[in-house]
Amino acid sequence: MIGVALKMLLGDKLKYLALVAGLAFAALLVTQQASIFLGYTLRTGAWIRDTGAADLWVMDPQLVFTEDNKPMLERALYQVRGVDGVDWAVPMYKGWLTVRLPDGTRVTSRLIGLDDASLVGGPPEMVSGRLEDLRRDRAVIIHADQASDGLLLKRGLEGEGPRPLRIGDTLGVRDHGLEVVGTFRSAPEFFWDPLVYTTYSRALQVAPPDRRMTGYVLVKCKPGTDVQTVAQRIEARTGLKARTSAEFEDVTMWFVLVKTGILVNFGFTILLGFVVGALAAGQTFYMFVLDNLRHYAALKAMGATSGTLARMVGAQLLVAAFVGYGVGLGAACLTTLAPASSGLAFEMPWQVPALGFAAIMVCAGIAGGIALLRVLRVDPALVFKS
């Protein structure tokens, strides 16, 4: 009877397509929005992941995410170095400075100062030049993509039109001239201010003077020591906060999700997709069942049991749900065809299609449950009513 059920479903092409469209729409919204949400979520921690050399980040206890500017006294570095279990510890500067481009365009940028000796915490991939070039006089490196975006010379130099910032150009920071000696590439971030790397000592030279200049202390634990134990020791000894990269990513992610309302907004969109899908599928399938009520009644009269009818309705919905889910998921995947420059954040690990599948099955279950009740309650004597 499953074959009969499927022929009934596929025979009513308009309702079948409407049913599949409703479920596909729900699958599209749930999986695509979940993927974009996940993409944005992962981007909040991109800079932390790209600064992957250290076991622990030591920071001001009030600092709640990566873009929070709460520097520490320089003595924090020496206090941390004295903690048992610390193999090495290096300082990192992070501050927001106004950078003047060669054509006079002014851009707020994130200046990262790396430990002069080790250059620990640098970008993951150099596009041109070498990271060691930062040790040259007045050297900075810039993001290869931001050179033609956030750091674009909009006005251009005399005789030139707009052009990307490039190696050899000079940036002005508080009357200091800094020369671009290389470009790097890092994972796309949630935050948008251009990243400019230099050495720690040079960052202190160009940044406005303050007693508190050290953004982070990056710590490597001795081999065989427990990272959490070392973190507790640092916190007990210095009164500062020591977080692993994963913990720092988590607090940054939650801060951004909650403060920006992204969690609620995407949550509502996903919920809306689910509700609209369930309603559309439910209504269409219920109409399909109503249209075929005489046939179900006839089958019941001819000896079909409630179990048989339930299996028929279930098969009809499962097929529609599988097809709708496939179409929706395929359409969601087409989102990846959007150009990288569009800034679209899209991450689809296996959990997202699994979530989408579960959502569609629940949609189909709701739609089918109501329709099934109608089918099971149908009076077979209906067949004798003209």
């Binding site: 009969v4 009934m8 596929l10 025979g11 009269a301 001819m302 000896g303 004597a381 004798f384 009513k385």
Partner: protein, 237 residues
């Protein structure tokens, strides 16, 4: 063979009413009726007289409020729902006024439905349905969809569907009312020819006086009661 063995259906004091306490409609009032095996019995009477209610009870798709109904010795009312459904599937064949063919299924698939309901493998069910369609004169149209066939042809598929699983009781509800006179006559001839058989009973509800002469007996109903059972020749058109 005793007389009870020859009776396909025995109804004694059957009553059925609809509605609530305030507004009760008595559809059947103490109906007594026997249907013999090998006969074609017609139930006739004005609209609302209880014909449809009576065949619904006889076919096991409706329970009487009072009285006793035996179909080939079985008390259908006493059965559980699942048992009742299985009993209908095995024992009863249906022909409906509006044919009730599934529009997406071919003629052969439609005729095979009772076999499929009983769990017969699809291939075997369709083969048996094709053989039955041949008997009703539709050998050439086994792969046609109902929409591609005339009303008379669709009713012949319905007859094939009612007979394909070799039921012992066939109930027909106004089988000719949607057909023109000539087609209706041919459908009745077909029913008479292929459905009436020893050991099988045929009960037809009809308004169509032009078909009365096909019956062996005619039970006249009025206001929920059987008011007479006659030979066809004695019923006034």
């Amino acid at each position: 063979m005793t007389k009870a063995d020859e009776l396909a259906v025995i109804c004694r004091g059957v009553a059925k009413s609809y509605g609530t306490a305030g507004e009760v409609v008595h559809a059947l009032r103490d109906v007594d009726l026997d249907v013999r095996t090998g006969e074609l019995l017609m139930l006739v009477g004005p609209s609302g007289c209880g014909k449809t209610t009576l065949i619904s009870i006889i076919a096991g798709i409706l329970d009487q409020d009072r009285g006793d109904v035996r179909v080939f010795g079985a008390d259908v009312k006493a059965m559980r729902q699942r048992e009742k459904a299985k009993f209908r599937g095995r024992t009863v064949g249906f022909v409906f006024q509006q044919y009730n063919l599934l529009p997406a299924l071919t003629a052969a698939e439609n005729a095979a439905v009772p076999l499929l309901v009983m769990g017969t493998p699809r291939k075997e069910a369709v083969q048996r349905a094709e053989a039955m369609l041949e008997k009703v004169g539709l050998a050439e149209r086994t792969r046609s969809l109902p929409a591609q066939l005339s009303g008379g042809q669709q009713q012949r598929i319905a007859i094939a569907r009612a007979l394909v699983h070799e039921p012992k009781l066939i109930v027909c509800d106004e089988p000719t009312s949607a057909l023109d006179q000539d087609t209706g006559r041919r459908v009745m001839e077909l029913l008479r020819e292929v459905a009436v058989a020893p050991g099988r009973a045929l009960v037809i509800v009809t308004h169509d006086s032009r078909t009365f002469h096909f019956a062996d007996r005619i039970a006249r109903m009025n206001d929920g009661s059987i008011v007479g059972i006659d030979a066809p020749s004695s019923v006034t058109h």
